[in-house]
């Protein structure tokens, strides 16, 4: 089945070589980091996690979002998602791959990464995060590949894959919940120390992830003969709408608790993010961009006429993705570290090598996504839609 990824138009190969070039640049930058240490990044004693972990946090959400297709299709028999569910599963594979790479490039001693397995530490959330991420990757590879292979032969998928599909539902929730627990269980980090963190993570995931998926589906429809279906796209857009409303609502709950309680420590990170603290305002324009985009895209999504119009829908989805990316990534991670435990402000901004490595990892993810989608679309184009 994989041979479908090895033949394609010139445009396909140009895209592949472009990605390989970006990966190459990222790899060179990573060699520099491996040699000189994480000192080549903008990280510091005070902001010890940055751009890499921000991308990881955002992408775990993208991976978890596949469940928004799996639940309606497999639990509620929503047939309209039949053609598109494979796109969700393969997007999850690509997203989890990137997550793992971002963790790897963030490590000071990556050659010791197996210590996590060699010295399993049940009280460390990071151990559980590694466990659930790996599990989710394998689940989606197995489920996606098996159902696609069955499609190609125009037969029903084997029976043994069904329990795995059901297992993948709570598992998707677990990857984002456990990732939220990385943050939510730390004493002294006011922005993170909140019981609603996991719920916020899931809400933003179910907004951002399906938004990416709709845009991918529209791209697939444009560049191939495979049509994921108008109704599937509109159904996903509704999921994005509800999830984005919940996401913004949850965020406002945090704002209420921080400011109405009047506890200074709880308010400081939010003040830093949206107004700046002690004259440090690096993230302020970003956070306001996210806020404006969040409300603007909700306005476009809630209104049926702008949601059904593909032009305005695309705008709204891009808005959702950027807002979620800024809020979940930069805002959440950096806001947790600023101000530091001494109530001092040390700002953070990624450096050029850090950005090159980040783009490199994204290019790996896009390469995985392209190859998997090429295979899936090839099968779909040949057989049309097979209901299973």
């Amino acid at each position: 089945m994989f041979e479908r990824a090895l033949s394609g138009s010139n445009r396909y190969w140009a895209w592949i070589f472009f990605l390989l070039a970006v990966i190459g640049v990222g790899f060179l930058a990573y060699m520099k980091q491996l040699n000189e240490g994480l000192g080549i990044t903008g990280l510091s004693r005070d902001v010890s996690w940055g751009f890499y972990i921000a991308q990881f946090t955002f992408l775990v959400g993208v991976a978890a979002s596949a469940v928004m297709l799996v639940i309606p299709y497999y639990l509620h028999n929503f047939k309209k998602f039949g053609k598109i569910v494979i796109l969700g599963e393969f997007l999850a594979v690509s997203a989890v791959t990137m997550c793992m790479l971002f963790i790897l490039v963030d490590m000071g001693q990556p050659m010791r990464v197996l210590n996590v397995v060699l010295h399993p530490t049940l009280n460390s959330v990071m151990f559980w995060d590694a466990l659930v991420l790996n599990g989710y990757l394998f689940l989606n590879i197995i489920i996606g590949w098996t159902t696609l292979a069955a499609d190609q032969k125009q037969v029903a998928p084997p029976q043994w894959v069904k329990p795995l599909i059901y297992l993948s539902i709570p598992w998707a929730v677990s990857i984002h919940t456990v990732t939220a627990f990385l943050y939510a269980g730390l004493p002294g980090r006011h922005l993170w120390l909140t019981a609603i963190m996991a719920a916020r993570f899931l809400a933003s995931a179910f907004a951002g992830g399906p938004a990416i998926l709709v845009l991918l589906a529209l791209l697939v429809r444009k560049f191939s003969k495979f049509d994921p279906g108008q109704e599937a796209i509109q159904a996903l857009a509704k999921i994005v709408t509800y999830a984005m409303c919940a996401n913004v609502f949850f965020f406002l709950l945090e704002v209420f608790t921080a400011f109405y309680s009047g506890i200074p420590g709880h308010a400081h990170p939010l003040v830093y993010l949206f107004a700046g603290l002690d004259g440090h305002t690096k993230l302020v324009p970003w956070m306001w961009t996210a806020a404006v985009l969040a409300f603007a895209s909700i306005a476009l999504l809630v209104n049926p006429s702008t949601r059904q119009n593909e032009g305005t829908l695309k705008l709204a989805l891009v808005g959702v993705i950027i807002a979620a990316w800024i809020d979940k990534g930069m805002g959440l991670v950096i806001g947790g570290f600023v101000p530091n435990p001494f109530e001092r402000v040390t700002e953070y901004a990624p450096t050029m090598p850090e950005l090159a490595i980040t783009f490199g990892v994204y290019a790996v993810g896009l390469l995985v996504l392209t190859l998997l989608y090429k295979v899936a679309i090839g099968v779909r184009e040949e057989n049309g839609a097979v209901e299973h």
């Binding site: 994480l38 903008g42 510091s44 001693q109 530490t121 001494f342 109530e343």
Partner: protein, 269 residues
């Protein structure tokens, strides 16, 4: 228990087959064959149920008083001096009242003297350390024998989860190679230097305690830092805590920090 060659071979072959007994075989050999003194602790070594510190800030008067303690620690532990403040490594340092106790700094009409005081900060060796809880490889662990929060620099993968978890900012990460660019002015050959990509911290001079010495900062402090067993009601640290008014950093977080700061210090306290 002694074992002869024949017994050893028998045991070894069975172990190989079972794949589990090798550790037992090695232990039984080491018990009989090796010099016991090679692994037994120095009889002069200091012992406690839980080590802790009392820092009397009234005895730290001049800039030099602070610097003496900092230098004593940093020199013997090969703590590098790095130009970029973002990459700073520090095991012990000083900070003002407002930033040492940020949760109490809201009080604007408090004791002026205290407000203008500086504090010596280092790892609190918490009884319930968040850093130990989050470490995915047990590179950060609490020593069962005496409660010291240790850092295994060969185990650490550099994930920096402990830095996110520590509410006291007591950990440093080697963003750059501390062995390069003469960052270590005079190397102490008796203590290891570190490599890039690992986290390091104050380990309560475990290496000095083992040979009967006080922690370097306490020794250099002329009595401003008192070190002792918090679990021993007769210890000097317990006497000070009972007699003077002491505060700890962020006690509300439940980590049970092991550094008590004597404040005020006046006769009426």
């Amino acid at each position: 228990m002694s074992i002869n060659r024949r017994q050893f071979l028998k045991l070894a072959s069975v172990s190989t087959i079972l794949g589990v007994g090798s550790a037992a075989a090695i232990t039984s050999i080491s018990r009989s064959g090796l010099e016991a003194s090679q692994s037994s602790p120095d009889p002069k070594g200091l012992k406690a149920k839980r080590w802790g510190f009392v820092v009397d800030v009234s005895k730290l008067k001049t800039e030099e008083d602070y610097q003496k303690c900092i230098d004593a620690c940093h020199n013997i532990h090969n703590v590098p001096t790095l130009k970029n403040p973002k990459h700073e490594i520090k095991w012990i340092w000083k900070d003002d009242y407002e930033h040492t106790f940020p949760n109490m700094a809201e009080d604007k009409i408090m004791n002026k003297e205290l407000q203008e005081k500086n504090f010596l900060l280092f790892c609190n060796h918490c009884a319930n350390p968040a850093c130990v809880r989050v470490c995915p490889t047990q590179a950060t662990f609490k020593r069962k024998s005496d409660g010291i929060v240790m850092q295994d620099m060969h185990r650490c993968i550099g994930c920096r989860f402990c830095m996110a978890a520590c509410p006291f900012g007591a950990r440093s990460f080697n963003y750059v190679d501390p062995r390069k660019d003469n960052a270590i002015k005079v190397e102490n050959k008796e203590f290891p230097t570190r490599m890039i990509g690992v986290v390091e911290k104050c380990t309560a001079c475990y290496e000095r305690l083992a040979v009967g010495k006080q922690p370097a900062c306490a020794e250099a402090s002329d009595g401003a830092i008192v070190f002792g067993d918090l679990e021993d009601p007769k210890s000097e640290v317990r006497r000070l805590i009972a007699e003077k008014y002491t505060i700890r950093r962020k006690p509300e977080l439940g980590t049970q920090p092991g550094i008590y700061y004597v404040i005020g210090g006046g006769e009426h306290v």
